[in-house]
Subunit: 253 residues, 2 copies
């Protein structure tokens, strides 16, 4: 008998399904359109719902879909480019930096941040909370850790709380001469509080951008910013700030 056409196709069902759906999204759906619900889709493709969900998860990870509990699954717009490294460094809070200070209070930084700041393990620092909105959507939440030694003028004053205090810390910081900065990007998952700020479920994939600010020969502040990985493409303009339009194509399938 003829051997069957398919010589060894141990391609997982969910993988094949993802490809099929991806092509359908390109050709048959418009941005914002809602897909059939998961139960219907699974039945239509003859697979269990869990398998269908595995494919949808991948597509959501790649920024092609957006799923919201109680609502449905919609076709996501192309990722928005968010500038994160404006040429030479500037202090956070510089004019027009797209961040909105939300809060500020004392806190003990995580151990890795404390190491960068060279503070003692249990030492408190100022922690400024900020959020970033782009195209009407929250895209990032930031925790900025500022040792009290970096903003000495603030130590004794009566402390306005909330956003006012946050602005005061940023203003103090801007007085220092910024000597350089250092950035790292890695994959993480949203903590419960970040998730809420980003309008996502806890555990959602995020791009964590850690920035060290150097002044007076030491690390004057550390920023840990978590960006929604599904909707954001981080841009680092090492040259003139050329704006690029990306199409719906994907870099990795």
């Amino acid at each position: 008998m003829g051997t069957t056409q398919l010589e060894t196709v141990p391609e997982p069902k969910y993988w094949h399904l993802k490809t099929v759906l991806s092509e359908a999204l390109d050709s048959e759906f418009a941005v914002g359109e809602i897909l059939p619900n998961e139960r219907d889709l699974a039945a239509r493709f003859g697979v269990a719902r869990a398998t269908l969900r595995q494919a949808l998860e991948q597509l959501e990870l790649e920024g092609r879909l957006q799923r919201r509990r109680g609502v449905g699954t919609t076709v996501a717009p192309p990722r928005m480019g968010v500038a994160v490294g404006s040429a030479q460094g500037t202090w956070p809070g510089a004019v027009g930096d797209a961040w909105q200070p939300a809060d500020c209070g004392p806190a003990v930084p995580p151990a890795d941040v404390a190491r960068m700041l060279e503070t003692l393990p249990e030492e408190q620092v100022h922690r400024v909370r900020r959020t970033r909105v782009s195209h009407g959507q929250p895209v990032a939440a930031e925790l900025l850790y500022v040792p009290t030694s970096s903003v000495p003028e603030l130590t004794g004053i009566d402390a306005p709380s909330g956003a006012a205090r946050a602005r005061a810390v940023l203003r103090e910081l801007a007085g220092l001469g910024l000597e350089g900065q250092d950035r790292a990007v890695e994959l993480g998952s949203a903590r419960a509080d970040d998730a809420k700020a980003l309008d996502r479920l806890p555990g959602a994939p995020v791009l964590v951008v850690t920035t060290r600010f150097f002044a007076e020969g030491r690390t004057a502040a550390v920023s840990v910013a978590t960006y929604r990985a599904d909707t954001c493409r981080l841009t680092f303009g090492d040259s003139g700030g050329v704006e690029i339009h990306h199409g719906p194509e994907r870099h990795a399938s």
Copy 2:
């Protein structure tokens, strides 16, 4: 002290499980140590294997675990920092840039790359494949697209194949005056070929770094590099190249 008591605690099991495991990893396990298998772990925690796996997946995404089919689950070392933006830009292939040219041949670039290169939709360009190894492990696979117009000297010559040809293209490129570059980072999932090069399964999370190289007033080349998201922390040294040691702590839970 406050009222922050449980107003409702429908915390998912897998989320709680992840927290418990995460703490256990910090205190009771050494890097490289193998965990009990999934069936045992699930039984020990009194959950279904699928639920246990959901927790493990998160931990793997955060770079705390490494799972290999047929082998087992091991405790991963802290993510390694890989430099991806060495101060001022240099052409790919500059001395000591940690990349190893593997192959080169003609190819039609994806539509978004073609747009950046301003080539015609079906126009062929040189495609150089390179891989990057760090600490004895493959960490990234790159596709570098170079329009024929950027390396005119190469058009007529007899073409050595493979790595030799790749090196020839890079050498030609280095002759141009680099005017700047532009970088973007986003989350993706590994294509089948990238997955093989990175020793991962297809669909594994990757950080996709797209770099545009400008010369002679236009985009002379585009690089699309996919880094293993589980093992890598991308560093962008905007200031002097200070080396940072990160501990096992995580930025996002």
